[in-house]
Structure formats: structure tokens, C-alpha cells
């Protein structure tokens, strides 16, 4: 069970807004890079977000570049899950590979600042502020395994290779 505050974003938030290309020179200095998380979508984000909070977005979150630094800086900023109506495919894989849950659900009912309580195993989200419950789409088998191990590197450390879950 994880609890935190919702930071609401609209649809079509690109990787260029999540971590702009002009900061590419900081990609080998991750603590400095992470200070610019979400900068071109909301310049105040990093100063306001707290450990355990959530990004709650509309559709097609994370479109654009393959830069894994996008989910990486979101995670480093303290975000514990990204909730969106839909996400771009490369961002989706990258986030799961880093152990950052991406939960696909109807985010319209969640407002900026709402307190959320998420049960990853049960697949449920409770909006404490407006006393509303919602569910998120099941994460595909192999991605769920990777996520449960905390990311692709811990997964490979444990299994040594890709394993297709039964009943794929």
C-alpha cells in the first residue's frame, strides 16, 4: 500500500517536457539532472513534490524520445507511481525497467492535490480526498514480473535470462 499526493498533468506530456534535451549535458550527473524533472510541464514541480507522491496525467504520457532519463528523474524526484489514461510505449517499458509503476486508469476523477492510496497487488486506487475508488488495468505478465523484482536489472540478476510467464 502506498500513499501520497496527486500532481495532475494534462495529455500529451512529452519526454521533452519531462526532461528537456537542453539538459543532456547532465545525463552523467543524475542528481543534478533530477533537479529539472518535469521542468517544461511545471517548473515548480521539483520544489513541491514529496517522496511518495504520484504523477497523474491524461493520455499518451511520455511520448517522444527513448531517453530512460525521463522515468529516471521522475523516480529520483520521489514519485512512486505514474497514473495515466495511456502512456507511450517506450516510456512504459523504461519506467517498468526502473521499477517505477505505470498504472493505466481513468484519471479524470482525480484532482490536483488529492491524497491517493494505491494497492499495487490488488490493483486498486482510493482517492481519499474525494472518497472515490478506481481500478487500474492489469500490467502484462512479463512486465509485472520485472516490476515485482524492482526493475529489469534485479530481474536479470535473479533469473539470468528472460522468462515467459505461464499463461501469457
Amino acid at each position: 500500500m502506498i500513499t501520497g499526493c496527486a500532481f495532475k498533468f494534462g495529455s500529451g506530456i512529452s519526454t521533452d517536457q519531462i526532461i528537456p534535451g537542453r539538459f543532456a549535458y547532465l545525463r552523467s550527473n543524475l542528481p543534478e539532472l533530477a533537479k529539472h524533472a518535469m521542468e517544461d510541464a511545471d517548473p515548480t514541480f521539483v520544489s513541491r513534490v514529496k517522496e511518495g507522491d504520484f504523477i497523474v496525467a491524461g493520455s499518451n504520457f511520455g511520448l517522444g524520445s527513448s531517453r530512460e532519463h525521463a522515468p529516471l528523474v521522475i523516480k529520483m524526484a520521489g514519485v512512486r507511481a505514474v497514473l495515466a489514461k495511456s502512456v507511450a510505449r517506450i516510456f512504459f517499458r523504461n519506467a517498468i525497467n526502473l521499477g517505477l509503476p505505470v498504472l493505466l486508469c481513468d484519471t479524470d476523477s482525480i484532482n490536483q492535490g488529492d491524497q491517493l492510496e494505491i494497492d499495487l497487488q490488488a490493483g486498486t486506487i482510493r482517492d481519499i480526498t474525494n472518497d472515490h475508488r478506481l481500478t487500474f488495468a492489469k500490467i502484462p505478465g512479463i512486465m509485472l514480473q520485472i516490476l515485482n523484482e524492482g526493475g529489469l536489472l534485479p530481474y536479470l540478476n535473479k533469473y539470468g535470462d528472460f522468462r515467459l510467464p505461464a499463461g501469457r
Partner: protein
């Protein structure tokens, strides 16, 4: 008898065919497969993290079954010491592992992959979203992040969900002044920036056999701007001739979808009816005909990138600018996609024409496309670029505005200083 199997083996999409081949079994849309990878490549802004993840996973050398390549193209030559250090780091990794290294000035990864590495039927992973470009040669080429790239580099394989395919059937002939870029901008405008998310876009129809490989590369390059995992063309006589011209005809193999392949959706486009298109700020699917944007003043025009930095693109621009001068209010920045393109553009006089028209010629590479250097925009400025992305902040300034168009639209716009339908100058 076993009719299900028979049907599945004779009714496959291009994506299903290639992934069946690479996973050693019948791979159908929706399946999760583990597939052998032919080529893994990284570039200078995603490569350092890929190498660090590769090392953190305990790998020492790339899997012996794959080709591995490193490209220094996004920040080339390096604009600052941090990126210079990243370049040094990648050069060191290349020396240590024997990976193919493409250094500063050689050109953009996707162009060099097309010129010398990609083969029809290959599975290619690049830690760059425009890896899809090689789909123009019939390769299942898709972008991934650094950890996926590192894992594929070490294991020689990856997991993939076999995508459902959307068939795009092209008919007719491109009218004068209308190009492959206009086709892909039109398609993205029609289906939206997430219109093909998780899907393969597969191009077919009568028009395809007449489309050159550079044209196909332009279309495939932007498949990701509709969210697609790959943008695939069949491999045909045009593909064979292109490979033969590079001295690698033996890399050719014909590839086409089965006649009865099952598609999630079909989109028909008569290219005869298309006109020059432009994407307006700040999304690629925000399209309009160029003629409707007349009067929009442009302070910088960019011709180049992995979308439109090839020889044919420079030729189109040079033809329009021959003997003319750029508008004095409009800067013109030209970045050839590779050293080969730059060299080839000299002999027919394209470079000279563009220089005389007032262009700045940048070294082969990504140039100003992603906002690192070589043409960062000022606040409130408008740019018209032949690139593939116009996201807010893309060219280094969230207070600037980016329009996307073809090399012809770019050249016409540079001459007039405002967005111009190139047909007015042809």
C-alpha cells in the same frame, strides 16, 4: 487438418513474419516472444546510461551473436565538457569491447544504420526513438531505453509483444511539390499522436513500389510520432537496388506480408490528393496545409535531421533556392545526415547553391533538432524544420515555436520569410 496452424503460417503481417523468424516459432499479434536481435546501437545522449546499465548487469562483452554500434551524433562536435566526457566514455567502451564506433562528423545513427548496417528482416534495437527509420528497408527496428538496450547488448535478445498491424494502403502518384514528408505528416494528423500506439504501421499499395528508399526512410522515421512501435515497408526491387548501390546486395532478401494477413485496421490514402503539409506547435499531429499558414513569419529554417537530411532532400531544397537568397529576416541552417550525404552534395553543386543562398552548413549530425546546440531558438521565435518533432522546448527553448514541413516547404519558407507552399515557387 491443423487448419489453424496452416492459416497462421500463410497469413502473417510483416511484423509477424519477422518476429516469427527471430523467435523461432509462430509469433502472432498479441503474443509475447523472446527474439534474437541482429543489431543493437546507442547514441551519445543515451549511450552512457546504456553502458553503465550494461556494466551494472555484470556484462563484459556484447553477445557474440549481434552487431553492436555506438554513434556520436547528437552533440557532435561536443558543445561542452560534460558531453565531451560522455564521448570519451563511449570511445573507451568501443575500444574495450570492439563495438563499431561512428565518431563526430560521421553522421546520424539512423542514416548510417540505413546506409551500411540494416538488412531486410533484421531485428534492430536502438536507444533512440527514431530507430524506426530502418523500417524503410524492411527491418523490424524499434527504439528502446538504455536498460533494454543494455540487456539486448549483453544477452543478444529481448522480449517483445508482437504488435497488431495497421495497414496503410497508398495509391496514386505524388503531385509536384508534394513529398513523402507531406504524406507522413498527413497520416499523423489524421490518426493522431497516439493513433498507432503499441501497433506496427505497415505500408503497402501501388504507390510503394515507386517510392525510393530515402522516401520510405522519411515515412518510417516518423511512425513513432503516431506512437507506433515500427513503421514497416516491404523489401522489393527498390530495396535491392539501394543495397546494391552501397555494395551490399547480398544483404537483400525480399519481404512482403502474406496476402491474407490480418490487420487491426486499414487506412487508404490516395497520395495524388495530398498537398504540402505543416505540423504546428507543439504537437506533430497538429497539422494544416502549408497554404493555410501563409503569413506566419519564420526566424529560422532547418533542413536536415534523420527525417530529411539525405541527398535527395538537399537536392530538392537546392533546386528551389537556385540563384536566390534567403529572406534577410530568416536564418537558414542545413545539417546533412551523414558524411556520405555531405560529400555527395558537393559534386552536383547543392552545397554551393545553399551557401550562396545564405545557408549555414553544419557538420553531419543531429544539429539543432533536439536543442543541444547549433541553432537553439530565442524566446518567441518561430522555426520551420524538416525534423520530426515540434514539442514544446524541443529546440532548447520552451518559449519558442516549431513548425515541421518538407525540404521543399522549408526552402520556400526560407526564401519568403514566412511559411510558404512550395508549389508557389515551382
Amino acid at each position: 487438418m491443423a487448419s489453424g496452424l496452416t492459416v497462421s503460417k500463410t497469413s502473417r503481417t510483416l511484423a509477424e513474419k519477422i518476429l516469427s523468424d527471430k523467435s523461432g516459432g509462430a509469433a502472432l499479434a498479441g503474443d509475447i516472444v523472446i527474439a534474437q536481435v541482429d543489431l543493437v546501437f546507442v547514441q551519445d545522449t543515451t549511450g552512457p546510461l546504456t553502458v553503465r546499465q550494461f556494466q551494472a548487469a555484470g556484462f563484459k562483452h556484447p553477445a557474440s551473436s549481434i552487431k553492436a554500434a555506438l554513434f556520436l551524433d547528437h552533440a557532435a562536435p561536443s558543445p561542452n565538457r560534460e558531453l565531451a566526457d560522455d564521448h570519451s566514455f563511449l570511445r573507451g567502451f568501443a575500444r574495450q569491447t570492439g563495438c563499431f564506433l561512428s565518431d563526430v562528423g560521421d553522421g546520424i545513427c539512423h542514416q548510417i544504420v540505413a546506409e551500411s548496417l540494416a538488412r531486410p528482416g533484421d531485428l534492430i534495437l536502438g536507444t533512440d526513438s527514431h530507430t524506426v527509420t530502418a523500417g524503410g528497408l524492411g527491418a523490424f527496428a524499434c527504439g528502446m531505453g538504455s536498460t533494454d538496450g543494455a540487456t539486448a547488448l549483453g544477452l543478444g535478445k529481448t522480449w517483445l509483444r508482437v504488435p497488431e498491424s495497421i495497414r496503410v494502403i497508398l495509391s496514386g502518384r505524388f503531385p509536384t511539390g508534394v513529398y513523402a514528408k507531406d504524406l507522413i505528416l498527413y497520416l499523423i494528423g489524421r490518426i493522431g499522436a497516439d493513433g498507432a500506439t503499441y501497433r506496427a504501421l505497415e505500408f503497402g499499395g501501388d504507390t510503394v513500389s515507386a517510392m525510393s528508399i530515402p522516401e520510405r526512410l522519411t515515412v518510417s522515421n516518423m511512425a513513432v510520432e503516431a506512437g507506433a512501435k515500427v513503421g514497416l515497408f516491404p523489401a522489393d526491387a527498390m530495396t535491392r537496388d539501394y543495397l546494391a548501390a552501397q555494395g551490399r546486395v547480398s544483404d537483400y532478401r525480399p519481404l512482403s506480408p502474406d496476402r491474407s494477413a490480418i490487420y487491426e485496421d486499414t487506412i487508404e490514402i490516395n497520395v495524388t490528393e495530398l498537398e504540402p503539409m505543416v505540423s504546428k506547435p507543439h504537437t506533430v499531429d497538429n497539422t494544416a496545409p502549408a497554404r493555410e499558414l501563409r503569413g506566419t513569419e519564420i526566424q529560422q529554417v532547418v533542413i536536415g535531421t534523420c527525417t530529411n537530411g539525405r541527398l535527395d532532400d538537399l537536392a530538392i531544397a537546392a533546386k528551389i533556392m537556385q540563384g536566390k537568397q534567403r529572406c534577410s529576416r530568416t536564418r537558414l541552417v542545413v545539417a546533412p545526415a551523414s558524411r556520405g550525404v555531405l560529400q555527395a552534395a558537393a559534386a552536383p553543386g547543392y552545397l554551393q547553391t545553399l551557401l550562396e543562398a545564405g545557408a549555414v552548413i553544419l557538420p553531419p549530425g543531429c544539429g539543432p533538432c533536439l536543442g543541444l546546440h547549433q541553432g537553439v531558438l530565442g524566446a518567441g521565435e518561430n522555426c520551420l524544420s524538416t525534423a520530426n518533432r515540434n514539442f514544446k522546448g524541443r529546440m532548447g527553448n520552451p518559449d519558442a515555436f516549431i513548425y515541421l514541413g518538407s525540404p521543399a516547404t522549408a526552402a520556400a519558407t526560407a526564401l519568403r520569410g514566412e511559411i510558404t507552399d512550395p508549389r508557389e515557387l515551382l
